[in-house]
Symmetry: C2
Subunit: 454 residues, 2 copies
């Protein structure tokens, strides 16, 4: 079947009638829900992943992401009805498919250089199975130009076919928020940039059919990738700006949270809040995809680079607030029992990827604190090399200092008086996520510090 | 009458029944509409300004701001019905009033240090007329802490009265957008921070009565001033970020305007657009109010400082685009006739304050261009030391290069073919405000450059 020669309506019908086979490469937090959503819409989906454990989990009708609402139910359903199966054999999966969707990770390495090795490996495997009339869609985050200058040349070289003529290529960067992926997949418009009009049209038809979302077509893959980076860098820079305000406002005796909330009443303002830093698979890494293109072009985006630095230094600031708060009650970090509440990089998620709390933990460990971690998403699991406690009480018992690292739902209704009674008094509390009311914390007798608070 | 001892409802009634006299100091773009709005609501208003010409204009029932919709009508009405009169005698105006609202300018000087001399002079005059039970409200933009550390000590010293006891002080920073001031005054919530609860309550009652807007009370004046700066710095930094993207995307062959529009389809994105820089009375100056406090506190907000620098350098980038575009048609800046369309710092406004177009003009003049300016808001007026043309045709006739400096409404429907015919071909067009469609410009035969365009 030559999907490139099909009309939009034909493609939509083919998805509904299970006449299209889609190969999704990479069954991670984006790939698995995407595979599930395409299967649910009717497509035959083969999920390919190099990790046999993940393939096994999926084929048993389960998901490794217990924090993604509705995902387990969806995967169970589409595996049971035969629309989704998983394999470690990428090239044979591609050989069966008309559409290939690439969702492999593209991390940055220690030197902050994007590591496209998974994309490159995928391309080589795709090339082995790719047929005329197929279309390859890149969802993985890559720098603008990477599809044009790396992926396409690689596919052309390995297949001896011509992109845009023999097969289609489009970028359709994922745009979903971990924890709410399935909801986002069906709500947030998708950006599509094809190397040709036909490539873009096919991608548009497929995503409309599978997800029912609005498609925004842009000029080419590099523009689509620029959109993805621009929207995430907007967030990273604005969080850095909030952190810059926070550190200055702490010194000026002004409450940054109060300021942000008041600013929000203006029509052209969007609030961002200070905190312990920025974690997760996207925001701490995305800037470097653009920076590296800037380096090549002789035009480094310094504002973006500097913003990243501000966010990277926030864990250190939290450690200073811990030292200050403990100092206020006459204690040193050394030897104090410090209970860290929340390790995940954001609320209500079972994910530690680049969480800034790890930096706080490591630094306090270096300073010889006696550390305990409680995170409702990680009860009893190994976190930062130690076993997280099963309960809040276990972590807090005998603590000299409480550090709130993640704004998990549960922490918004902490019983501060009860926690205070369990602590070794006088005790301190440092809130890096403006979860608790400073005046209530102080009323309970804690020495209080909060990021951005006077 | 001791307004500080009145209930909220009593104050609202007193405004309606013309039983309160308000002195507004500074009859500029904010002060005059504010005076008008208070008078319209019922208050007796005395407008005080050191400039006799402005006082005369107001007393004749007119406004010097012809670009403020509805302002002339309002001022005519309230002067005619006797609710508003103007004077150059600040202290006697204060002596007649229960409420003093300070709307004097607070520019930054050449070294980027805030110049509070107008505020200080006002305080001295206020002190001569201030009585027990009065309240002083600061609308002028000042750095956080300026009300507490400069204004209040000055008023206390000069009056020998105690702020918060004998008289009230509150900050209620203006939050309106030039060109739409009257509309904003009645729609955008106001931030009020008092030195005491009573000061804040009085200010709340007054603004609610006069403007009918929501009042957001914050902890103190410095928090109110931080809110004002935070919301404007958010804009300045985000425009700088858009400019940073623009300069890099030009090199990468990506259209920044297309990117921003596509990004806008994401729920947590707010678009800002690149351009020739940032002008006006607020954005180019506001960062320095916070920076100077940062310098004092040993904590310079570098991200904000750097963003300012990016915006300040945009006119230079526009000049480079002009040189590039002329070069493409084989011409030098020297000797070329360059028609600048739009001089105002923003669309549809009769205001040149810190307009970045002036920097573009001056630089091109240094490079010996033959310059003409057309701006529909400044027909035949002196602009940057030359006489602006009466018509578009006059400016464009025989031009080698057209530069769009301001996105005035009129320029969105430019007849490019007609303009092209008037130019000395081959001609160039540089759009610093993404007003015209690049492909249409090129179709007409211009060499095209646009900020942020490939």
């Amino acid at each position: 079947m030559n999907i490139m020669s099909m009309s939009k309506q034909d493609i939509i019908n083919a998805v509904k009638q299970s006449n299209i086979t889609v190969c999704v490469i990479g069954l991670g937090r984006i790939g698995l829900p995407t595979a599930g959503a395409f299967a649910e819409a009717g497509a035959k989906v083969i999920g390919a992943d190099i990790d046999p454990k993940i393939v096994q989990i999926v084929n048993s009708g389960q998901s490794q992401f217990r924090d993604e609402q509705g995902l387990n139910t969806l995967i169970r359903k589409v595996v049971k009805n035969g629309r989704l199966r998983a394999t470690t054999n990428v090239s044979s999966a591609v050989a069966e498919a008309e559409v290939v969707i690439v969702c492999v990770p593209t991390p940055v390495d220690e030197s902050k250089v994007p590591d496209y090795s998974a994309v490159k490996e995928s391309c080589k495997e795709i090339a082995k199975g790719l047929k005329k009339g197929n279309v390859v869609i890149i969802e993985s985050t890559v720098g603008p130009g990477t599809v044009e200058d790396l992926i396409i040349p690689l596919l052309e070289k390995e297949t001896d076919m011509k992109a845009g003529v023999d097969f289609g290529v489009a970028s359709c960067p994922e745009r979903a928020d971990p924890g709410r992926i399935l909801e986002n997949l069906k709500k947030v418009p998708r950006i599509v940039g094809g190397i040709t009009q036909e490539s873009a049209d096919v991608a548009e038809a497929l995503y409309e059919a599978a997800l029912g979302v609005k498609i925004v077509k842009v000029s080419n893959p590099k523009t689509a990738n620029a959109v993805k980076l621009t929207e995430n860098l907007f967030r990273d820079v604005n969080i850095a700006l909030a952190n810059e305000f926070a550190i200055l406002y702490e010194k000026l005796g002004i409450d940054t949270i109060e300021v942000m909330k008041a600013c929000s009443t203006k029509y052209n303002f969007m609030p961002h809040y200070p905190g312990a830093g920025v974690g997760g698979p996207c925001l701490p890494q995305n800037p470097y995809y653009l920076i590296v293109e800037g380096v090549k072009a002789g035009n480094i985006p310094y504002l973006i680079r500097f913003a990243r630095e501000i966010n990277d230094r926030m864990p250190e600031h939290v450690v200073m607030l811990v030292a200050e708060a403990l100092n206020e009650v006459g204690k040193t970090v050394r030897g104090s029992k410090i209970a860290i509440l929340g390790a995940a990089y954001k609320p209500n998620i079972h994910d530690l990827q680049l969480t800034p709390v790890e930096k706080v933990f490591n630094r306090l460990k270096e300073m010889a604190a006696d550390l305990a971690i409680y995170d409702p998403m990680f009860r009893g699991e190994r976190v930062f090399g130690v076993k997280a406690t099963e309960s809040l009480a276990e972590a807090v018992k005998g603590a000299d200092c409480i550090v709130i690292g993640t704004a998990h739902e549960e922490f918004h209704s902490l019983n501060l008086a009860a926690i205070d009674r369990m602590c070794r008094k006088p005790a301190a509390l440092v809130d890096s996520r403006h979860v608790v009311d400073p005046s209530m914390v102080r009323e309970c007798g804690f020495a209080y510090r909060g990021v951005g608070r006077p």
